[in-house]
Symmetry: C2
Subunit: 176 residues, 2 copies
DNA sequence: TCATATTTTCAATAAATACTGAAAATACAA
DNA sequence: TTGTATTTTCAGTATTTATTGAAAATATGA
């Protein structure tokens, strides 16, 4: 296979990955464009500028800017400056385990914690009530809370350990 | 506190839970109405009919029907028939651990598996290529695949074990 | 069978979300 | 300063997703 064939095959595979990853992100509740930009950056050998991303994905400047900022907000990408150039370049964290840790922490902060707070408020309201129904209700809320608390701790622990420790744990888990 | 005060406090707490749970579901990428119906059913002492759900949430018959069917599709609720009545009643699985198992299995099937297939296809396309760039690309895809495979196995294992086993595991995890 | 209760479907509509493009704001070099 | 490169904002628009409500389909008892 010639060099240009190789690189066009690679380009195609990458484009495919980017567009498909967008579709997956969509199924996972993540904005399609954001997922595509992320896919582009984790498979890019070089940092990319906003204009390059706009061109590659055929999206507007506003759209690119918004989603790049969101990704920076998640901590999944960061901007780098090249000496002598004014443009911002973006690079993604490529280590899959680190990506997971970042996402786990953020989701915990954005999703689990608020849910726990709501449960706590419902719990407080019915704490004093003595009827059977009230008791069943607060037991159910309790159970949800306890489950979320466990999930929270597991995520927290996983996200702050070395990948190698998790792998060992997984080994144990599958051993029975 | 009088009986009617007790029950109105309970009613309020429950309404609060249902509407807040809808908002949370929304943040987690789940249809608000579906989350609300689910919240209603897991805190209901009795099975409910479509009409009761419509009235409680002030939604249309079509909307109620669609979301009830979706919940049945997930396996999170099921319909029960009362002898001598034509109406369908719905009950939710209330055990939080069982709920988790159901959701884990479904998400694996609906989200992780398709993502893995896409990665596999991208991998296949670039397998033969020898350039540095191509190698980096397929290494990255590999890493993603490996991670998803691990996630898949962990979910699978967790979802098919007893809750008590997971609790023991969690204990170990936090012990260091 | 017919009359009635109940569920399902689906075209129309509403609501939420994502995207564009150009103007405004900002940053920087001369 | 002033001019230029770059980023941000945001009103307007497009697209997607959710919801309604009524008609059609289905199920049931007499």
């Amino acid at each position: 296979m010639k060099n240009d064939e190789t690189s066009s095959t690679l380009r195609e595979a990458r484009q495919d990955f980017v567009s498909q990853w967008g579709a997956i992100g969509n199924a996972w509740g993540i904005n399609r464009t954001m997922a595509q930009i992320h896919a582009l950056l984790i498979t890019s050998p070089e940092p990319l500028t906003t204009d390059e991303i706009m061109a590659e994905l055929r999206i507007s400047r506003g759209n690119a800017n918004t989603n790049l900022r969101d990704l920076v907000g998640w901590g999944l990408i960061r901007s780098v400056l090249r000496p002598g150039e004014r443009k911002e370049y973006f690079v993604a964290e490529k280590d899959v385990w680190k990506m997971f840790c970042i996402i786990a922490r953020e989701r915990k902060r954005r999703e689990i914690t608020p849910a726990m707070e709501i449960l706590q408020r419902c719990r407080d309201k019915t704490r004093g009530l003595k009827s059977r129904e009230a008791k069943d209700f607060s037991d159910q809320i309790d159970a949800l809370q306890e489950f979320l608390r466990l999930a929270e701790r597991i995520l927290e622990t996983a996200a702050s350990s070395e990948q190698s420790k998790i792998m060992k744990l997984a080994a144990k888990l599958f051993a029975g």
